[in-house]
Amino acid sequence: MDDNRQWMLRLMGLALILAMVMGYQIKALAWHSEVVQNEAQVHAAEEYNAEIRAAQEQAAQRKGPAGQAGRDADAAKTYKDGSYTASGRGFGGDITLTVTIAGGRISDITINDASGEDKAYFDMAVTLLQTIISGQSADVDAVSGATYSSNGILTAVRNALEEAAQ
């Protein structure tokens, strides 16, 4: 009977597609673990560099105040401690969030209101918060596939940081 025959053919097609997806997944996981390893190596190297830089700076300070200018310029970029609430337009309305600055750094970001957003999309966009905190900057790309929610979050964070910089 045609119905059953077609069902079987399609089942086979689906099995083939799933097998291809599995094959891809195995390959991609291998790539991914390589990337993680590389990143760990880069991170270790960077830490080592930072240590050397710190040692050099200490040595320069002992010699004289020449290194001071560079450090002042760095300090100007930091933010004033406190909590700053701001919002940005997302998918179905405004997203409101609070950025907490502690020790001149972005220490925490909490979402206060995202009632207009679609959960699946917003959950993807929310991963940006971790990126912002670890990079200490809101100059990051929107999550592809969740552009509206991403832009809402980024605008809100930028607005909050603007307040914090004043």
């Binding site: 119905d3 069902w7 097609g13 699946a120």
Partner: protein, 297 residues
């Protein structure tokens, strides 16, 4: 070897011919049942429209997301998109495309626009020319093309750069109460064109454009769950089910069973009650598979 009835014992063959016709429902009862089912269908559509208007884009985002990940060489991860996609595909494989018939907000929009247009056509007495059946048959392949193009664009990593063209996105923004549509002029124009199509043809988008429907169409729907018509018992010359079918699905066994969106209108209209789900008629279980294997092998 292609004749499947050979697997039936002869007495069963006879029985199926001599069986008295099932008690025929009174026309008034049928009308009442039809009206009840119509109201139920609309109620379900309205509930889904209000509570989950973006389900269809969420599931389709799963497909886009999947190909974007392939472009980036990243492993698949479990997120809301993939979950929605897998859940809807599994449901469709088990029970049929109820999602399309009842839960899809864009399909409901199509039904609503078509309903209004029918009312208007009746009132003014002017009817829109129907689309030739042949053109419809050709256009039914368009969803596959659209699906392939979108998969390709995502796989090449250029999809993210194309913004403001998607009529689905415009519709999703409007249903989410966001009217800042300045960047989506092309999307608005396409949405309006699609709505014009919806007014002219029932389920215009679902039949001729929907890339999510293209995925559902290709899925192996469990044969037991397919609607089947016992053509032997049909009134000669009656094609009520086919005329009423919003996706112009031919309800004979087999070809393009994936087209059916399970709205159930054919079940309600059939004067003989000939359409039902259940085992594929006359053939039970394994012999079918064997007979196919034997006939093709």
């Amino acid at each position: 070897m292609t004749d499947n009835t050979m697997f039936l014992p002869p007495e069963e063959k006879q029985n199926s011919e001599n069986k008295p016709a099932p008690a025929v429902e009174k026309p008034a009862d049928r009308k009442k049942r039809k009206e009840q089912n119509r109201i139920l269908r609309i109620a379900i559509q309205v509930i889904f429209f209000l509570l989950a208007p973006s389900l269809f884009t969420t599931a389709f985002s799963g497909i886009k997301h999947f190909f974007t990940l392939i472009h980036q060489g990243e492993p698949l991860e479990n997120n809301g998109f993939i979950t929605a996609l897998v859940a809807m595909c599994v449901f469709t494989m088990l029970f049929g495309r109820f999602f399309c018939g009842y839960a899809c907000a864009f399909g409901s929009l199509g039904d609503f626009v078509y309903y209004l247009s029918e009312k208007l056509q009746k009132r003014t007495g002017k009817r829109l020319p129907p689309l030739p059946e042949k053109a419809g048959k050709v256009m039914q392949h368009l969803p596959y093309l659209i699906l392939m193009i979108i998969m390709l664009l995502c796989g090449l990593g250029v999809y993210g750069n194309l913004t403001g063209w998607s009529p689905w996105e415009v519709f999703a923004l409007i249903t989410a109460g966001n009217f800042h549509l300045g960047g989506s002029i092309l999307g608005i124009i396409l949405l309006l064109l699609i709505m014009a199509g919806m007014a002219a043809e029932s389920r215009f988008f679902c039949r001729f454009l929907c890339p999510m429907g293209a995925v559902f169409r290709l899925l192996p729907v469990f044969p037991w769950s397919l609607l089947k018509r016992d053509t032997d018992k049909c009134i000669k010359g009656c094609s009520a089910c086919r005329k009423l079918c919003p996706v112009h699905h031919e309800l004979s066994a087999g070809l393009n069973a994936g087209d059916c969106i399970r709205c159930g209108k054919c079940i309600d209209i059939c004067p003989r009650g000939n359409i039902s789900i259940g085992p594929v008629p006359k053939i039970h279980g394994f012999p079918t598979i064997f007979s196919w294997a034997m006939s093709s092998g």
